[in-house]
Amino acid sequence: MSDSRTAILGRIRAGLAAGVPLAAAAAPSLPPPVVVDRADRASLADRFADEAEQAGAVVHRAGDLDAAVEAVLGVLATARVSRLAAWDGADLPVPQLLDAVGDRGIQVIEPTVPSDRGDLDRDWSALAEADAGLTGAAGGLADTGTVVLRSGPGRARLVWLLPPLHIVVLPSPFLYPTLSAFVATRGDLVGRCSHVALVTGPSRTADIEQMLTIGVHGPKQVHIVLVDDAV
């Protein structure tokens, strides 16, 4: 409705021309984003783990890729997972992970992409029946304990949303002190991907008398495997 577009913009311009600017006084300039020495990975990782646990996630520290595989298998075993929805192996920070999962006899469900460029069938029942979802983070925000996830061809969003348990692998070089620091460095991801999600702990609500309840629509449990040595 281009008529409304013209009318709305016209009213805004008339108001701006007639009125006094709201930010008349010299606005305080933005303190530059806090640039913490990213070489100081140990303290960033400690802060991240602390904040993520406060938000209700479980953090597993892994010294190298093998330890990361063991940590993921440990979570799967504890939760008795038999069906795992997962991102494409190439999109997981630990390449050998899906093979190791398959070796344990766990069924891996990968969301299908139409090869013939037809419409998606949007039958999510297989994904909805998965016991857990496995993804890899593009970033971690230390001051809030947040993992950054992004959609893409091998990276279905429903994998981090539908199953009751979400396991996400986060390489420690991907840690940033704040959201501002992440955006300053990797803001390009936001434009490139249809969906970038900042996820902080498990799904929760307090809509009934402000009483905290975990696991409304998203996962009840979020396990973050923080790999110190991964690239």
Binding site: G19, L22, P31, L162, S194, H195, A206
Partner: protein, 475 residues
Amino acid sequence: MSAPAAAFSRRIAEALQDRQLRLALDRTTSRFTALRAAGLASLPDADAVRDRARAIRLETLDHLDQHLERFEAAVTDAGGQVHWAADAREANAIVLQIARSRGVFHVVKSKSMVSEEMGLNPTLIDAGVDVVESDLGEYIIQLAGETPSHIIAPAVHKTREQIGQLLADKLGVPMTDDPARMTAIARSTLRQVFLRADMGLTGVNFGVASTGTLAIVTNEGNASLGVSAPRVHVALMGIERVVPTLDDLAVMLQVLARSATGQKLTVYTDLITGPRRTEPDDPDGPDELHVVLLDNGRSRLVGSEFGEALACIRCGACLNACPVYQQIGGHAYGSVYSGPIGAVITPSLDRDGPWHVLPDASSLCGACREVCPVRIDLPRMLLALRADAVRAGKTGRWGRLAFRLYRVVATHPWLFRRAVSVARWATEILAVAGWVRRLPPPLSGWTRFRDFPVVASRTFTERMRERPRRPWRQQ
């Protein structure tokens, strides 16, 4: 008393007599207030961040036309479509047209105050489109056939016992007052709705002009699911919700969740830029993304003395802090937006509605301005709206007469002194132990709920006159 004032008084009286409501409000608003304080305390240099957040909002509003054009271009570049709606009716028509032309029968909706403003649900349901609210609070409200009473906690007016009974009645599940059990029931019921839906409807917390990104926050993950499973995503956005860049968005997100619930960041902050990508294909996400930009009176506020209200980020902190809201809750206001911000934007967005009485529901204590993450001067605008109502002749005849009389008395010192003596004489006669329990009409309204003090035996001017002149010379 004018008709709107009488209706408002009646709603307030009903709210004050509703024990369940008072209990629910008491349990929640105080908790929100404490959580907010703790949340802001966790932010290093919170005052500087709030100043910056305010500057971002005001600078954006000062160039709103340019930012909206950039936003529109960026959304389009990313493969989305932008629709401009001058009012609620046009916005409803746009959504309905999208639904009809795409063969949509099932809509899953996440919380959107703009959709409440539009009255969207009845429009879709009348047209045969099934709409289910997915935010737990909104779902409860929809089952009860009510409207939200708080910007971020729509079911805040209900006790857990009432909600348990509602679920038992509507869904045929066993009665429980355990929030965890009730949440599990809602999860399994709504899971089927998400998987079946053709369209996901959401609001927009911020639209980023430089990238065309929609930032949508929820704690439950319901918006995330709603924009991932269905084939169409329709996002409803007020024209004022634009921010220039991702850097600015990061600043706003630092104060939004902290002010709303005390969290450092909402559990799910979804940054949506266009529909799902193809070649190569994303395995999920919507095929189409539509952004409906709603004006509905907002553009008229630009440049006016109420323009600052457009800086609001809808965190709800002013509601929880307001001593009036704490007592009467959201429904008594009778409007979509309640509390101090509702009392400002409702009458200024809808100039012809019966809303001029809402700014009276304030003690002007300033608690709202104190907690506002972008420091909106709500008390100033509440006063300006009261003045507007008087100038427009919307206030009651007796009230106007009383203030006219007061002006005559207050601008004639001899008359004022006489009036004070009369008041002192009268209150001394009526008082018991220094307090007047009951004043005669028309002043009885004051003493219905509180006592009136006896006028001081000597006024300030009298005492000044009795003091020795220039006392410092006597030393």
